[in-house]
């Protein structure tokens, strides 16, 4: 659906990382973890393309949150929004993480901004009393976003930072194998940069753990009509926006 959503709250939670809460009851009600919203940035027609963002939270009945890093024009514009501003949002879009098979133990793997959709998921899992373990990585301690939230929501957090300012010094994929060995997850839900996800998929296969990844690709329509956002899968190109953004990692032609 397409709504005009009012900004309820806006915080800079880390340098250049912002969290915005929008009043959007219709989207909030139907949102599932892993789904995303497509946001019109700018006034008039300055931005031809909407910007896609994972739904970071939708558990309060009326509002949704996004968590984003300023990387270009659109995110700069969003970062300047103020409480009460109104924004044109389409969503919820795409298919979220699949929880059909009711797994026992779940491992969340979040690289950098990849934490965005996983908080919503962790929250939902926590409410369902599913056991979750988190492996997170970021450039530094400051960018280990939502750490306190995660502490509350999951049983255990293992962290890696590139500069070693918290947890192991290194990449998330350096610590993932040990975490898997230790916690024996039934399924991994991962989000982060493509190169990390490829590595995660590889590790998951090696360790024989099911793995779902939330992908990103440049999007125009966001609803499945234009075929801009495809990813190569074992069965040909699929649309990240409409067939994903969450895919079974074995489906992807990495």
């Amino acid at each position: 659906m397409q709504v005009k959503a009012t900004v309820l709250q806006k915080d800079e939670v880390a340098p250049q990382v912002h969290k915005i809460r929008f009043f959007a009851p219709r989207i909030a009600k139907s949102a599932q973890p892993g789904q995303f919203v497509h946001i019109k940035c700018g006034e008039e027609q300055n931005y031809i393309l909407r910007r896609p963002f994972s739904i970071h939270q939708a558990n309060s009945s009326d509002s949704i949150e996004i968590l984003f890093k300023v990387v270009g024009r659109g995110t700069s514009w969003l970062a300047k929004l103020k409480v009460k501003d109104s924004v044109d949002i389409i969503g919820p879009l795409g298919n979220g993480f699949s929880l059909k098979s009711r797994p026992g133990k779940i491992m969340l793997v979040a690289g950098g901004m990849g934490i965005a959709p996983l908080i919503f998921l962790a929250d939902k899992l926590a409410k369902e009393h599913t056991k979750t373990y988190t492996v997170i990585g970021a450039a530094n301690k400051e960018l280990l976003l939502d750490y306190m939230n995660l502490k509350r929501l999951t049983r255990k957090i293992t962290a890696a930072t590139e500069d070693g300012s918290q947890g192991v010094k290194g990449l998330i994929t350096d610590i993932l194998p040990a975490a898997i060995t230790e916690d024996h997850p039934d399924v991994i839900f991962a989000c982060g940069p493509f190169s990390m996800l490829r590595e995660v998929a590889f590790i998951a296969r090696r360790e024989d753990v099911d793995c779902q990844v939330a992908l990103e690709e440049l999007m125009a329509c966001g609803v499945g009509a234009c075929l801009a956002c495809v990813v190569k899968t074992k069965t040909g190109f699929k649309r990240v926006c409409a067939d994903g953004p969450v895919f079974d990692s074995r489906e992807i032609e990495w």
Binding site: I48, L49, A220
Partner: protein, 307 residues
């Protein structure tokens, strides 16, 4: 005062209003049915269909540019058979003329898809895409040369009795010559423009932003180019022109209509706002009412040129 009459006739098909969704930006309608009432549209043009399925180009396939975007989707589609089996029946539930855009690499492929589409139910007209800049062989060549374009259209004319619309490429020196050639060859309406060839570079990676290097520019940036071509062609030919290129508001659509377009198609603007085709229909109606016109045809080509 009664409401103005928005109905138009293009290539012998009746549209309840002159606002069409352009090929490739609206899929086969399904995805946008959640956002707008498809029954309100003048017509829908499908994403271009080829006889055989095609996988299209590698990603990145798009990139944003000042007031526009580049795309190199590359005619990804599931082929004519899958389209007829899955999409046409779904579209049949609407009171909506379906114009099927067809493409191919050579005359034979065009003829095969034409024949196939002509014998299935629910097709109001064909739009021959001789202009997609993304297919390495065929497509582009047909659109750039008046004689090749005419040969193709004449051949397709013999394969089908469906109303025939031909969509032209703007990447030519003399758009009027191409338009005249395809009209002589049997085109009953002309769609223009398709995308303008363009390119963008990422200076950090030192790579083209599109994997296929060159793609098609669309959106408001190209509106002045499209409008100029529509004006030139509409003066020169006797069949209706469907104006396309950067139309994002009723004012944009009215510019094309005043310049001679008998209908308009909305492409890239639906990405900005899925409601835009509906807003454009409403805005056109408002303009007619405000200015005291009874019907849309009163303003088609009504541009006044001083001395």
């Amino acid at each position: 005062m009664s409401r103005p009459d928005l109905a138009v006739e293009i290539a012998g098909i009746k549209l309840k209003n002159p606002v069409i969704t352009a090929s490739g930006t609206f899929g086969y309608g399904r995805e946008y049915a959640e956002f707008i009432d498809l029954n309100r549209l003048g017509a829908l043009v499908t994403k271009t269909i080829t006889f055989q399925p095609r996988s299209g180009n590698p990603v990145p396939r798009i990139c944003e540019t000042p007031s526009g975007m580049l795309n190199s989707i590359g005619l990804q589609n599931n082929g004519a058979e899958a389209f007829a089996a899955n999409d046409l029946p779904w579209l049949a539930q609407f009171d909506l003329p379906v114009i099927v855009s067809i493409g191919g690499d050579d005359i034979d492929q065009y003829c095969r898809v034409t024949k196939f589409i002509s014998q299935v139910e629910g097709v109001s007209a064909l739009e021959v895409n001789i202009s997609c800049p993304n297919v390495k062989f065929g497509g582009l060549g047909f659109g750039r040369d008046p004689r090749m374009a005419a040969d193709l259209v004449a051949k397709i004319r013999t394969c089908s009795t469906l109303p025939l619309i031909v969509k032209l490429s703007p990447n030519v020196g003399d758009i009027v010559a191409i338009a005249q050639a395809v009209v002589r060859a049997g085109a009953q309406a002309i769609s223009l423009i398709n995308t303008v060839l363009g390119m963008a570079v990422d200076i950090e990676s030192k790579r083209p932003r599109l994997k296929s290097v060159v793609g098609g520019l669309s959106g408001p940036a190209i509106k002045p180019i499209a409008l100029r071509m529509v004006w030139e062609v509409a003066k020169a030919i006797d069949v209706p022109v469907i104006g396309i290129g950067g139309i994002a508001s009723a004012a944009d659509a009215l510019e094309f209509i005043l310049a001679g377009a008998g209908a308009v198609a909305v492409g890239t603007a639906v990405f900005m706002d899925p409601q835009s085709p509906i807003k454009i229909i409403e805005g056109i109606e408002e303009y007619l009412t405000k200015n005291g016109y009874d019907k849309i045809s009163d303003i088609v080509g009504a541009l006044e040129i001083a001395e």
